[in-house]
């Protein structure tokens, strides 16, 4: 299994780069994961999305799809694409330390 080393902590990730153990996630881990997908700095708006995704996943038991994020996080669809230009559908979940969303919308 691939792993990414961060300080003295080794993070287990799957072959697509998603954390396999969501409890290993910390804000610093998010920054590391963000850099891996080409986001150099996490802005306040990124954090708004990440916080929503983690809270929603904890409540729902599954990571939110993109439409759900755009409707409930307070960050609209257009901005989500600006924040995660390489594909907000999976990257919002990835940076949030959640599994790849299973929905199609």
């Amino acid at each position: 299994m691939p792993a990414v080393e961060f300080n003295s902590l080794t993070l287990e990730v799957n072959e697509e780069g998603f954390l396999t153990d969501s409890s290993q996630w910390t804000p610093e881990v998010a920054e590391t994961l963000a850099k891996e997908v080409g986001i150099d700095e996490l802005t306040e708006q990124h954090w708004k999305v990440i916080t929503f995704c983690r809270e929603d996943a904890a409540k729902q038991g599954a990571p939110p799809g993109l439409r759900r994020i755009s409707k409930l996080s307070g960050v609209n669809m257009k901005e989500l694409y600006q924040l995660f230009p390489k594909g907000p559908g999976k990257l919002a979940a990835k940076v949030s330390g959640l599994p790849k969303p299973q929905g199609c919308i």
């Binding site: 299994m1 691939p2 990414v4 080393e5 755009s70 694409y81 390489k86 594909g87 919308i105």
Partner: protein, 176 residues
């Protein structure tokens, strides 16, 4: 701090042989929507949106009956075909009775609503916001005597088939 590249597949896993090259990821898709029934509208819209969510460039070209998907007067009233549709669980003769098509369409829309699938109009808005390019076919517009003002405001332009190919450079083309 050291990091390994997360995007690369496992090099230690037994399933990955050493010299095997990874296939090129898809960079861009051009989706042609040529049908105007509800069941043929969604596949193109969902696939284009899925591409954008996955970081793939997408454009959708609406031609022939597919123009209904983006024509202001029609896009909120697309129907399921109850006749000539072998997957429909009712006989064609029954499907042809007055009101059957409307009823089947209402039922399908209700079901989609329950599953939180967006309406056609919302799908077009989502696609536009996602940065997907949306185009209407020049020849079909002429045939149906439509002007750009008759279409949803999210439509970027009206294209000829040659324009379509120019804008599809490097694309995978999908016809629906």
């Amino acid at each position: 701090m050291t990091t390994t590249t997360l995007n690369e597949p496992a090099t230690t896993g037994a399933a990955v042989t050493e010299n095997k090259e990874q296939p090129e990821p898809i960079q861009r898709v051009s989706i042609i929507c040529s049908k105007g029934t509800l069941d043929m509208a969604y596949p193109g819209l969902i696939m284009a949106n899925g591409a954008r969510m996955n970081g793939i460039d997408a454009m959708v070209f609406f031609t022939f009956w597919g123009l209904d998907i983006v024509t202001e007067k029609k896009m909120d009233h697309l129907h399921v075909a109850t006749v000539g549709n072998p997957s429909m669980p009712i006989p064609t003769m029954v499907g042809g009775l007055p009101g059957m098509e409307a009823m089947a369409s209402t039922m399908m829309k209700k079901q989609m609503d329950d599953l939180e699938i967006p309406s056609v109009r919302e799908m077009i808005e989502i696609l536009h916001d996602s940065g997907a390019e949306l185009y209407a076919c020049r020849m079909a517009m002429d045939m149906f005597k439509l002007e750009k003002e008759d279409l949803a405001p999210q439509i970027d332009d009206v294209l000829t088939v040659m324009d379509f190919y120019d804008k599809s450079a490097g694309s995978q083309i999908i016809f629906i």
